[in-house]
Protein backbone atom coordinates (compact mmCIF):
# COMPACT_ATOMS: atom_id res chain seq x y z
CA UNK A 1 0.00 0.00 0.00
CA UNK A 2 2.79 2.37 1.00
CA UNK A 3 4.72 1.56 -2.14
CA UNK A 4 1.67 2.08 -4.31
CA UNK A 5 0.98 5.50 -2.84
CA UNK A 6 4.63 6.39 -3.17
CA UNK A 7 4.72 5.35 -6.81
CA UNK A 8 1.51 7.26 -7.49
CA UNK A 9 3.04 10.42 -6.05
CA UNK A 10 6.24 9.89 -8.02
CA UNK A 11 4.17 9.24 -11.13
CA UNK A 12 2.11 12.39 -10.68
CA UNK A 13 5.28 14.34 -10.07
CA UNK A 14 6.96 13.06 -13.22
CA UNK A 15 3.68 13.46 -15.13
CA UNK A 16 3.31 17.05 -14.01
CA UNK A 17 6.78 17.85 -15.37
CA UNK A 18 5.82 16.19 -18.65
CA UNK A 19 2.69 18.32 -18.54
CA UNK A 20 4.72 21.54 -18.43
CA UNK A 21 6.46 20.46 -21.60
CA UNK A 22 3.41 18.97 -23.29
CA UNK A 23 1.25 22.04 -22.67
CA UNK A 24 3.71 24.36 -24.42
CA UNK A 25 3.96 21.88 -27.22
CA UNK A 26 0.18 21.72 -27.56
CA UNK A 27 -0.15 25.48 -27.33
CA UNK A 28 2.13 25.98 -30.32
CA UNK A 29 0.35 23.20 -32.17
CA UNK A 30 -3.06 24.74 -31.52
CA UNK A 31 -2.00 28.04 -33.11
CA UNK A 32 0.29 26.99 -35.96
CA UNK A 33 -0.86 23.38 -36.51
CA UNK A 34 2.54 21.77 -36.53
CA UNK A 35 4.52 19.78 -33.99
CA UNK A 36 7.44 21.89 -32.90
CA UNK A 37 10.25 19.35 -32.56
CA UNK A 38 12.60 22.10 -31.38
CA UNK A 39 10.52 22.33 -28.21
CA UNK A 40 12.98 20.08 -26.34
CA UNK A 41 15.73 22.57 -27.13
CA UNK A 42 13.98 25.22 -25.05
CA UNK A 43 14.09 22.82 -22.14
CA UNK A 44 17.83 22.28 -22.64
CA UNK A 45 18.45 26.02 -22.95
CA UNK A 46 16.58 26.49 -19.68
CA UNK A 47 18.59 23.74 -18.00
CA UNK A 48 21.98 25.08 -19.11
CA UNK A 49 21.09 28.68 -18.31
CA UNK A 50 20.18 27.60 -14.81
CA UNK A 51 23.34 25.50 -14.48
CA UNK A 52 25.69 28.33 -15.51
CA UNK A 53 23.79 30.96 -13.56
CA UNK A 54 24.24 28.82 -10.45
CA UNK A 55 27.79 27.61 -11.08
CA UNK A 56 29.50 30.45 -12.89
CA UNK A 57 27.53 33.49 -11.82
CA UNK A 58 26.91 32.15 -8.33
CA UNK A 59 23.28 33.19 -8.32
CA UNK A 60 20.73 31.71 -5.94
CA UNK A 61 18.10 29.32 -7.35
CA UNK A 62 15.39 31.97 -7.61
CA UNK A 63 17.50 34.34 -9.69
CA UNK A 64 19.00 31.54 -11.73
CA UNK A 65 15.58 30.02 -12.29
CA UNK A 66 14.08 33.34 -13.35
CA UNK A 67 16.98 34.02 -15.67
CA UNK A 68 16.73 30.61 -17.30
CA UNK A 69 12.99 30.93 -17.85
CA UNK A 70 13.54 34.22 -19.64
CA UNK A 71 16.46 32.79 -21.62
CA UNK A 72 14.35 29.86 -22.79
CA UNK A 73 11.36 32.09 -23.57
CA UNK A 74 13.46 34.48 -25.61
CA UNK A 75 15.18 31.60 -27.43
CA UNK A 76 11.77 30.25 -28.31
CA UNK A 77 10.78 33.62 -29.79
CA UNK A 78 14.05 33.80 -31.73
CA UNK A 79 13.60 30.26 -33.04
CA UNK A 80 10.18 31.21 -34.34
CA UNK A 81 11.38 34.46 -35.89
CA UNK A 82 14.44 32.93 -37.54
CA UNK A 83 13.19 29.56 -38.66
CA UNK A 84 9.40 29.52 -38.81
CA UNK A 85 8.22 33.02 -39.60
CA UNK A 86 9.94 33.20 -43.00
CA UNK A 87 8.26 29.90 -43.90
CA UNK A 88 4.78 30.64 -42.64
CA UNK A 89 4.75 33.97 -44.43
CA UNK A 90 5.36 32.18 -47.72
CA UNK A 91 3.25 29.06 -47.47
CA UNK A 92 0.39 27.46 -45.62
CA UNK A 93 1.98 24.02 -45.78
CA UNK A 94 2.75 23.21 -42.17
CA UNK A 95 4.92 20.24 -43.14
CA UNK A 96 7.73 22.71 -43.90
CA UNK A 97 7.46 24.09 -40.40
CA UNK A 98 7.73 20.58 -39.00
CA UNK A 99 10.90 19.97 -41.01
CA UNK A 100 12.35 23.34 -40.00
CA UNK A 101 11.68 22.50 -36.36
CA UNK A 102 13.60 19.24 -36.70
CA UNK A 103 16.45 21.22 -38.20
CA UNK A 104 16.39 23.77 -35.38
CA UNK A 105 16.40 20.96 -32.85
CA UNK A 106 19.59 19.52 -34.36
CA UNK A 107 21.19 22.97 -34.63
CA UNK A 108 20.53 23.94 -31.02
CA UNK A 109 21.60 20.56 -29.66
CA UNK A 110 24.90 20.83 -31.51
CA UNK A 111 25.49 24.40 -30.45
CA UNK A 112 25.57 22.99 -26.91
CA UNK A 113 27.80 20.08 -27.89
CA UNK A 114 30.29 22.48 -29.48
CA UNK A 115 30.24 25.21 -26.84
CA UNK A 116 29.82 23.43 -23.52
CA UNK A 117 30.59 19.85 -24.51
CA UNK A 118 28.53 16.70 -24.46
CA UNK A 119 29.32 15.53 -20.94
CA UNK A 120 26.71 15.00 -18.28
CA UNK A 121 26.46 17.69 -15.67
CA UNK A 122 24.74 17.61 -12.32
CA UNK A 123 22.95 20.72 -11.18
CA UNK A 124 24.13 21.83 -7.73
CA UNK A 125 21.78 20.54 -5.04
CA UNK A 126 19.51 23.57 -5.12
CA UNK A 127 16.29 21.62 -4.88
CA UNK A 128 16.03 19.53 -1.71
CA UNK A 129 15.74 15.79 -2.29
CA UNK A 130 15.37 14.66 1.33
CA UNK A 131 12.88 11.90 2.00
CA UNK A 132 9.55 13.08 3.28
CA UNK A 133 7.25 10.93 5.33
CA UNK A 134 3.62 11.39 4.33
CA UNK A 135 1.55 10.95 7.50
CA UNK A 136 3.18 7.59 8.05
CA UNK A 137 1.50 6.24 4.91
CA UNK A 138 4.34 6.49 2.47
CA UNK A 139 7.75 7.95 1.95
CA UNK A 140 8.54 10.13 -0.98
CA UNK A 141 11.16 12.73 -1.74
CA UNK A 142 10.84 16.45 -1.22
CA UNK A 143 11.93 16.87 -4.80
CA UNK A 144 8.90 15.01 -6.12
CA UNK A 145 6.55 17.07 -4.00
CA UNK A 146 8.22 20.34 -4.98
CA UNK A 147 8.13 19.57 -8.69
CA UNK A 148 4.49 18.57 -8.40
CA UNK A 149 3.60 21.79 -6.60
CA UNK A 150 5.58 24.01 -8.97
CA UNK A 151 4.02 22.34 -12.00
CA UNK A 152 0.53 22.78 -10.59
CA UNK A 153 1.25 26.46 -9.90
CA UNK A 154 2.58 26.99 -13.45
CA UNK A 155 -0.32 25.20 -15.08
CA UNK A 156 -2.79 27.09 -12.90
CA UNK A 157 -1.08 30.32 -13.85
CA UNK A 158 -1.34 29.43 -17.52
CA UNK A 159 -5.01 28.64 -17.12
CA UNK A 160 -5.61 32.01 -15.43
CA UNK A 161 -3.65 33.79 -18.14
CA UNK A 162 -5.69 32.11 -20.88
CA UNK A 163 -9.08 32.69 -19.30
CA UNK A 164 -8.69 36.02 -17.52
CA UNK A 165 -6.58 38.23 -19.75
CA UNK A 166 -7.16 39.93 -23.06
CA UNK A 167 -4.17 38.26 -24.73
CA UNK A 168 -5.20 34.93 -23.24
CA UNK A 169 -8.58 35.32 -24.89
CA UNK A 170 -6.85 36.23 -28.14
CA UNK A 171 -4.75 33.06 -27.93
CA UNK A 172 -7.87 30.95 -27.44
CA UNK A 173 -9.52 32.70 -30.39
CA UNK A 174 -6.41 32.22 -32.52
CA UNK A 175 -6.31 28.53 -31.62
CA UNK A 176 -9.68 28.30 -33.33
CA UNK A 177 -8.90 30.56 -36.28
CA UNK A 178 -5.67 32.52 -36.48
CA UNK A 179 -6.72 34.49 -39.56
CA UNK A 180 -9.95 35.69 -38.03
CA UNK A 181 -8.15 36.62 -34.81
CA UNK A 182 -6.00 38.86 -37.01
CA UNK A 183 -9.16 40.31 -38.49
CA UNK A 184 -10.23 41.33 -34.96
CA UNK A 185 -7.20 43.61 -34.72
CA UNK A 186 -4.81 41.16 -33.06
CA UNK A 187 -1.20 41.60 -34.13
CA UNK A 188 -0.71 37.99 -35.18
CA UNK A 189 3.11 38.11 -35.16
CA UNK A 190 3.07 39.40 -31.63
CA UNK A 191 0.58 36.74 -30.59
CA UNK A 192 2.73 33.97 -32.04
CA UNK A 193 5.80 35.35 -30.27
CA UNK A 194 3.87 35.43 -27.02
CA UNK A 195 2.79 31.81 -27.46
CA UNK A 196 6.38 30.73 -28.12
CA UNK A 197 7.57 32.71 -25.11
CA UNK A 198 5.05 31.00 -22.84
CA UNK A 199 5.91 27.60 -24.30
CA UNK A 200 9.63 28.28 -23.80
CA UNK A 201 9.16 29.40 -20.21
CA UNK A 202 7.11 26.33 -19.29
CA UNK A 203 9.63 24.06 -21.02
CA UNK A 204 12.43 25.66 -18.99
CA UNK A 205 10.62 24.96 -15.72
CA UNK A 206 10.35 21.34 -16.83
CA UNK A 207 13.96 21.44 -17.97
CA UNK A 208 15.25 22.50 -14.57
CA UNK A 209 13.38 19.73 -12.79
CA UNK A 210 14.41 17.15 -15.35
CA UNK A 211 18.07 18.13 -15.11
CA UNK A 212 17.91 17.67 -11.37
CA UNK A 213 16.17 14.32 -11.80
CA UNK A 214 18.38 12.95 -14.58
CA UNK A 215 21.44 15.28 -14.96
CA UNK A 216 21.91 17.71 -17.79
CA UNK A 217 23.30 16.97 -21.26
CA UNK A 218 22.70 18.39 -24.74
CA UNK A 219 20.37 15.55 -25.75
CA UNK A 220 18.14 15.93 -22.70
CA UNK A 221 15.64 17.58 -25.02
CA UNK A 222 14.99 14.14 -26.48
CA UNK A 223 12.84 13.50 -23.44
CA UNK A 224 10.29 15.77 -25.09
CA UNK A 225 9.29 12.71 -27.06
CA UNK A 226 7.51 11.61 -23.86
CA UNK A 227 5.71 14.93 -23.60
CA UNK A 228 4.87 14.63 -27.29
CA UNK A 229 3.38 11.18 -26.70
CA UNK A 230 1.44 12.63 -23.78
CA UNK A 231 0.13 15.46 -25.94
CA UNK A 232 -0.95 13.02 -28.63
CA UNK A 233 -2.66 10.75 -26.12
CA UNK A 234 -4.47 13.74 -24.68
CA UNK A 235 -5.26 15.11 -28.14
CA UNK A 236 -2.88 17.48 -29.91
CA UNK A 237 -3.83 21.08 -29.50
CA UNK A 238 -5.90 20.47 -26.38
CA UNK A 239 -4.38 21.83 -23.18
CA UNK A 240 -6.48 19.80 -20.73
CA UNK A 241 -5.65 16.83 -22.95
CA UNK A 242 -1.95 17.52 -22.66
CA UNK A 243 -2.17 17.64 -18.86
CA UNK A 244 -4.27 14.48 -18.54
CA UNK A 245 -2.12 12.64 -21.08
CA UNK A 246 1.02 13.62 -19.18
CA UNK A 247 -0.34 12.46 -15.84
CA UNK A 248 -1.41 9.14 -17.35
CA UNK A 249 2.05 8.74 -18.82
CA UNK A 250 3.87 9.67 -15.62
CA UNK A 251 1.74 7.25 -13.61
CA UNK A 252 2.15 4.47 -16.15
CA UNK A 253 5.91 4.93 -16.13
CA UNK A 254 6.30 4.98 -12.38
CA UNK A 255 3.89 2.14 -11.71
CA UNK A 256 5.65 0.01 -14.31
CA UNK A 257 9.01 0.88 -12.83
CA UNK A 258 7.80 0.21 -9.31
CA UNK A 259 5.90 -3.03 -9.79
CA UNK A 260 7.22 -4.65 -12.97
CA UNK A 261 10.57 -3.43 -14.17
CA UNK A 262 12.03 -0.03 -14.85
CA UNK A 263 13.34 -1.33 -18.17
CA UNK A 264 9.80 -1.77 -19.40
CA UNK A 265 8.67 1.82 -18.76
CA UNK A 266 9.35 3.09 -22.28
CA UNK A 267 7.69 0.03 -23.73
CA UNK A 268 4.57 0.84 -21.73
CA UNK A 269 4.68 4.49 -22.79
CA UNK A 270 4.80 3.72 -26.48
CA UNK A 271 2.24 0.95 -26.16
CA UNK A 272 -0.11 3.51 -24.67
CA UNK A 273 0.52 5.70 -27.69
CA UNK A 274 -0.21 2.87 -30.12
CA UNK A 275 -3.36 1.85 -28.26
CA UNK A 276 -4.63 5.46 -28.19
CA UNK A 277 -3.97 5.93 -31.87
CA UNK A 278 -5.74 2.66 -32.68
CA UNK A 279 -8.89 3.38 -30.71
CA UNK A 280 -9.03 7.17 -30.54
CA UNK A 281 -6.83 8.67 -33.23
CA UNK A 282 -7.62 12.23 -32.17
CA UNK A 283 -6.58 11.53 -28.59
CA UNK A 284 -8.72 11.83 -25.48
CA UNK A 285 -9.65 15.49 -25.93
CA UNK A 286 -8.60 16.11 -29.52
CA UNK A 287 -10.57 17.96 -32.11
CA UNK A 288 -10.66 16.12 -35.37
CA UNK A 289 -8.84 17.80 -38.20
CA UNK A 290 -8.12 16.51 -41.66
CA UNK A 291 -4.44 15.91 -41.30
CA UNK A 292 -2.13 16.12 -38.34
CA UNK A 293 1.51 16.89 -38.79
Amino acid sequence: MGTLLQQIINGLSLGSVYALIAVGYSLVYSILLFSNFAHGSFLVIGGYSCYFALKTLGMNIWLAGGLSLIAAGVSAILTERLAYKPIRERTNVTLYLLIASMGMSIVIENIFVVTVGGRFRALPPVIPTDPVNLFGLATTSAFDLISLVVAVICLGGLQLFLTRTKWGLAIRAAAYNLRIAGLMGVNVSRLISLVFFVAGVLAAVGGIFLSVRYTLYPQLGGITIKAFVAAVIGGLGSLPGAVVGSLILGLAEMLTAGFISSQLRDLVVFSLLVITLLFRPTGLFGKSVGEKI
Binding site: K166, R172, A173, I180, A181, G182, L183, G185
Partner: protein, 240 residues
Amino acid sequence: MALLDVKNLSVSYGAIRALSDVSIAVEEREIVSVIGANGAGKSTLMNAVMGMVKRDRGEVYLEGKLLAERSFQVVAQGIALSPEGRKVFAPLTVYENLLMGAFPRSDRNKIAEDMEWVYTLFPRLRERTGQYAGTLSGGEQQMLAIARALMARPRVLLLDEPSLGLAPIIIKEIFKELRRINEEGVTILLVEQNARQALLLSHRAYVLQTGRLILSGTSKELLANPEVEAAYLGGKPATH
Protein backbone atom coordinates in the same frame (compact mmCIF):
# COMPACT_ATOMS: atom_id res chain seq x y z
CA MET B 1 -13.97 63.84 -49.59
CA ALA B 2 -15.47 60.41 -49.18
CA LEU B 3 -15.15 58.63 -45.84
CA LEU B 4 -13.80 55.47 -47.45
CA ASP B 5 -12.05 55.78 -50.76
CA VAL B 6 -10.85 52.72 -52.65
CA LYS B 7 -8.67 53.86 -55.53
CA ASN B 8 -7.67 51.76 -58.54
CA LEU B 9 -7.38 48.57 -56.52
CA SER B 10 -5.93 45.50 -58.23
CA VAL B 11 -5.37 42.09 -56.66
CA SER B 12 -4.03 38.86 -58.14
CA TYR B 13 -3.77 35.32 -56.86
CA GLY B 14 -0.65 34.15 -58.63
CA ALA B 15 -1.34 34.58 -62.32
CA ILE B 16 -5.05 35.04 -61.83
CA ARG B 17 -6.26 38.60 -61.68
CA ALA B 18 -9.09 38.79 -59.13
CA LEU B 19 -9.66 42.55 -59.08
CA SER B 20 -8.76 45.06 -61.79
CA ASP B 21 -8.65 48.74 -61.18
CA VAL B 22 -11.59 48.91 -58.81
CA SER B 23 -12.52 52.31 -57.37
CA ILE B 24 -15.27 52.72 -54.82
CA ALA B 25 -16.23 55.67 -52.66
CA VAL B 26 -18.39 55.50 -49.55
CA GLU B 27 -19.68 58.69 -47.99
CA GLU B 28 -20.25 59.18 -44.28
CA ARG B 29 -23.49 57.53 -43.06
CA GLU B 30 -24.09 55.89 -46.39
CA ILE B 31 -24.88 52.25 -47.14
CA VAL B 32 -23.11 51.20 -50.31
CA SER B 33 -23.47 47.75 -51.78
CA VAL B 34 -21.36 45.88 -54.25
CA ILE B 35 -23.28 43.18 -56.03
CA GLY B 36 -21.98 40.49 -58.31
CA ALA B 37 -22.08 36.80 -59.02
CA ASN B 38 -20.06 34.14 -57.28
CA GLY B 39 -16.38 34.63 -58.14
CA ALA B 40 -16.79 38.25 -59.22
CA GLY B 41 -14.20 39.30 -56.63
CA LYS B 42 -16.47 40.58 -53.88
CA SER B 43 -14.74 38.86 -51.00
CA THR B 44 -11.37 39.70 -52.49
CA LEU B 45 -12.38 43.35 -52.40
CA MET B 46 -13.27 43.11 -48.71
CA ASN B 47 -10.13 41.18 -47.86
CA ALA B 48 -7.94 43.60 -49.79
CA VAL B 49 -9.38 46.56 -47.89
CA MET B 50 -8.77 44.71 -44.62
CA GLY B 51 -5.20 43.85 -45.56
CA MET B 52 -5.96 40.13 -45.55
CA VAL B 53 -4.75 39.75 -49.12
CA LYS B 54 -1.94 41.67 -50.72
CA ARG B 55 -2.87 44.57 -52.94
CA ASP B 56 -0.99 44.65 -56.25
CA ARG B 57 -1.85 48.21 -56.98
CA GLY B 58 -4.09 50.93 -55.67
CA GLU B 59 -4.68 52.48 -52.29
CA VAL B 60 -7.45 52.72 -49.76
CA TYR B 61 -8.05 55.95 -47.87
CA LEU B 62 -10.09 56.46 -44.74
CA GLU B 63 -11.00 60.11 -44.20
CA GLY B 64 -8.22 61.02 -46.59
CA LYS B 65 -5.61 59.05 -44.67
CA LEU B 66 -3.85 56.17 -46.37
CA LEU B 67 -4.95 52.86 -44.89
CA ALA B 68 -2.26 50.55 -43.46
CA GLU B 69 -1.42 47.28 -45.15
CA ARG B 70 -1.69 44.92 -42.18
CA SER B 71 -5.09 43.89 -40.84
CA PHE B 72 -4.53 44.69 -37.19
CA GLN B 73 -3.59 48.24 -38.15
CA VAL B 74 -6.58 48.57 -40.47
CA VAL B 75 -8.89 47.58 -37.60
CA ALA B 76 -7.21 50.07 -35.29
CA GLN B 77 -7.68 52.77 -37.93
CA GLY B 78 -11.42 52.21 -37.89
CA ILE B 79 -12.58 49.52 -40.30
CA ALA B 80 -14.13 46.23 -39.22
CA LEU B 81 -15.33 43.29 -41.28
CA SER B 82 -18.00 40.73 -40.68
CA PRO B 83 -16.46 38.02 -42.86
CA GLU B 84 -18.07 35.70 -45.36
CA GLY B 85 -19.38 32.58 -43.68
CA ARG B 86 -19.54 34.46 -40.33
CA LYS B 87 -16.46 32.80 -38.85
CA VAL B 88 -17.43 33.28 -35.25
CA PHE B 89 -15.09 31.73 -32.68
CA ALA B 90 -17.05 28.54 -32.05
CA PRO B 91 -15.34 27.47 -28.80
CA LEU B 92 -15.68 30.92 -27.23
CA THR B 93 -18.86 32.24 -25.67
CA VAL B 94 -20.97 34.93 -27.30
CA TYR B 95 -19.64 37.38 -24.73
CA GLU B 96 -16.03 36.42 -25.43
CA ASN B 97 -16.61 36.75 -29.18
CA LEU B 98 -17.84 40.30 -28.61
CA LEU B 99 -14.82 41.05 -26.43
CA MET B 100 -12.58 39.84 -29.25
CA GLY B 101 -14.29 42.33 -31.52
CA ALA B 102 -13.19 45.10 -29.17
CA PHE B 103 -9.62 43.79 -29.03
CA PRO B 104 -7.79 46.93 -30.21
CA ARG B 105 -9.66 49.14 -27.76
CA SER B 106 -8.65 49.89 -24.21
CA ASP B 107 -11.55 52.14 -23.13
CA ARG B 108 -13.18 49.65 -20.76
CA ASN B 109 -16.21 51.73 -19.89
CA LYS B 110 -17.00 52.46 -23.52
CA ILE B 111 -16.61 48.78 -24.35
CA ALA B 112 -19.21 47.92 -21.71
CA GLU B 113 -21.53 50.57 -23.17
CA ASP B 114 -21.09 49.21 -26.67
CA MET B 115 -21.72 45.70 -25.43
CA GLU B 116 -25.04 47.00 -24.11
CA TRP B 117 -25.67 48.69 -27.46
CA VAL B 118 -25.14 45.53 -29.56
CA TYR B 119 -27.24 43.51 -27.11
CA THR B 120 -30.02 46.04 -27.67
CA LEU B 121 -29.62 45.70 -31.42
CA PHE B 122 -29.63 41.91 -31.20
CA PRO B 123 -31.56 40.89 -28.07
CA ARG B 124 -31.11 37.24 -28.99
CA LEU B 125 -27.40 37.57 -28.36
CA ARG B 126 -28.07 38.85 -24.87
CA GLU B 127 -30.10 35.73 -24.14
CA ARG B 128 -27.20 33.60 -25.34
CA THR B 129 -24.35 35.61 -23.84
CA GLY B 130 -22.80 32.68 -21.97
CA GLN B 131 -23.39 30.14 -24.69
CA TYR B 132 -20.64 28.85 -26.99
CA ALA B 133 -20.86 30.55 -30.37
CA GLY B 134 -20.64 27.17 -32.09
CA THR B 135 -24.01 26.20 -30.63
CA LEU B 136 -25.85 29.16 -32.17
CA SER B 137 -28.06 28.87 -35.24
CA GLY B 138 -26.81 30.26 -38.55
CA GLY B 139 -28.84 33.44 -38.18
CA GLU B 140 -27.63 34.00 -34.65
CA GLN B 141 -24.05 33.43 -35.74
CA GLN B 142 -24.51 36.06 -38.44
CA MET B 143 -25.88 38.49 -35.87
CA LEU B 144 -22.89 37.71 -33.66
CA ALA B 145 -20.47 38.30 -36.53
CA ILE B 146 -22.03 41.70 -37.21
CA ALA B 147 -22.17 42.59 -33.52
CA ARG B 148 -18.54 41.49 -33.10
CA ALA B 149 -17.47 43.80 -35.91
CA LEU B 150 -19.48 46.64 -34.36
CA MET B 151 -17.61 46.16 -31.10
CA ALA B 152 -14.54 47.64 -32.79
CA ARG B 153 -16.59 50.87 -33.09
CA PRO B 154 -15.60 51.13 -36.74
CA ARG B 155 -15.88 54.26 -38.86
CA VAL B 156 -16.90 51.91 -41.67
CA LEU B 157 -18.52 48.52 -41.20
CA LEU B 158 -17.76 46.01 -43.95
CA LEU B 159 -20.15 43.12 -44.48
CA ASP B 160 -19.30 40.14 -46.63
CA GLU B 161 -22.42 38.24 -47.71
CA PRO B 162 -24.49 38.59 -44.56
CA SER B 163 -27.33 36.66 -46.22
CA LEU B 164 -25.26 33.61 -47.06
CA GLY B 165 -27.01 30.37 -46.28
CA LEU B 166 -29.80 31.91 -44.23
CA ALA B 167 -33.56 31.45 -44.44
CA PRO B 168 -35.47 34.33 -46.10
CA ILE B 169 -37.16 35.32 -42.88
CA ILE B 170 -33.84 35.57 -41.06
CA ILE B 171 -32.32 37.56 -43.93
CA LYS B 172 -35.16 40.06 -43.62
CA GLU B 173 -34.60 40.39 -39.90
CA ILE B 174 -30.88 40.93 -40.33
CA PHE B 175 -31.26 43.49 -43.11
CA LYS B 176 -33.80 45.37 -41.01
CA GLU B 177 -31.23 45.47 -38.23
CA LEU B 178 -28.57 46.71 -40.68
CA ARG B 179 -30.76 49.63 -41.62
CA ARG B 180 -31.20 50.47 -37.97
CA ILE B 181 -27.45 50.26 -37.37
CA ASN B 182 -26.95 52.66 -40.27
CA GLU B 183 -29.57 55.03 -38.88
CA GLU B 184 -27.57 55.10 -35.66
CA GLY B 185 -24.70 56.56 -37.63
CA VAL B 186 -22.65 53.59 -38.85
CA THR B 187 -21.41 53.76 -42.43
CA ILE B 188 -21.74 50.42 -44.20
CA LEU B 189 -20.08 48.85 -47.23
CA LEU B 190 -21.78 45.60 -48.12
CA VAL B 191 -20.99 42.96 -50.72
CA GLU B 192 -23.81 40.63 -51.62
CA GLN B 193 -24.77 37.94 -54.05
CA ASN B 194 -28.36 38.51 -52.99
CA ALA B 195 -28.65 41.58 -55.22
CA ARG B 196 -32.26 42.45 -54.54
CA GLN B 197 -31.89 42.54 -50.76
CA ALA B 198 -28.70 44.53 -51.07
CA LEU B 199 -30.17 47.07 -53.47
CA LEU B 200 -33.28 47.47 -51.32
CA LEU B 201 -31.09 48.29 -48.35
CA SER B 202 -28.35 50.45 -49.82
CA HIS B 203 -28.30 54.03 -51.02
CA ARG B 204 -25.84 53.46 -53.83
CA ALA B 205 -24.40 50.38 -55.46
CA TYR B 206 -21.71 49.05 -57.75
CA VAL B 207 -21.85 46.00 -59.96
CA LEU B 208 -18.75 43.84 -60.00
CA GLN B 209 -18.18 41.35 -62.82
CA THR B 210 -15.07 39.16 -63.06
CA GLY B 211 -13.00 41.63 -61.09
CA ARG B 212 -14.13 44.81 -62.82
CA LEU B 213 -16.76 47.37 -61.94
CA ILE B 214 -19.20 47.50 -64.83
CA LEU B 215 -21.95 49.69 -63.43
CA SER B 216 -22.67 52.05 -60.60
CA GLY B 217 -25.45 54.34 -59.51
CA THR B 218 -28.08 54.83 -56.90
CA SER B 219 -29.65 51.59 -55.78
CA LYS B 220 -33.00 52.74 -57.18
CA GLU B 221 -31.48 53.25 -60.63
CA LEU B 222 -29.85 49.84 -60.54
CA LEU B 223 -33.04 48.14 -59.40
CA ALA B 224 -34.76 49.64 -62.43
CA ASN B 225 -31.90 48.90 -64.81
CA PRO B 226 -32.91 46.19 -67.31
CA GLU B 227 -29.37 44.79 -67.51
CA VAL B 228 -29.17 44.40 -63.76
CA GLU B 229 -32.67 42.98 -63.74
CA ALA B 230 -31.71 40.35 -66.28
CA ALA B 231 -28.33 39.40 -64.85
CA TYR B 232 -28.78 39.71 -61.09
CA LEU B 233 -32.44 40.02 -60.24
CA GLY B 234 -33.80 37.83 -63.01
CA GLY B 235 -37.38 38.15 -61.79
CA LYS B 236 -36.42 35.56 -59.18
CA PRO B 237 -37.55 35.88 -55.59
CA ALA B 238 -35.37 37.90 -53.32
CA THR B 239 -33.50 34.97 -51.88
CA HIS B 240 -31.46 32.14 -53.24
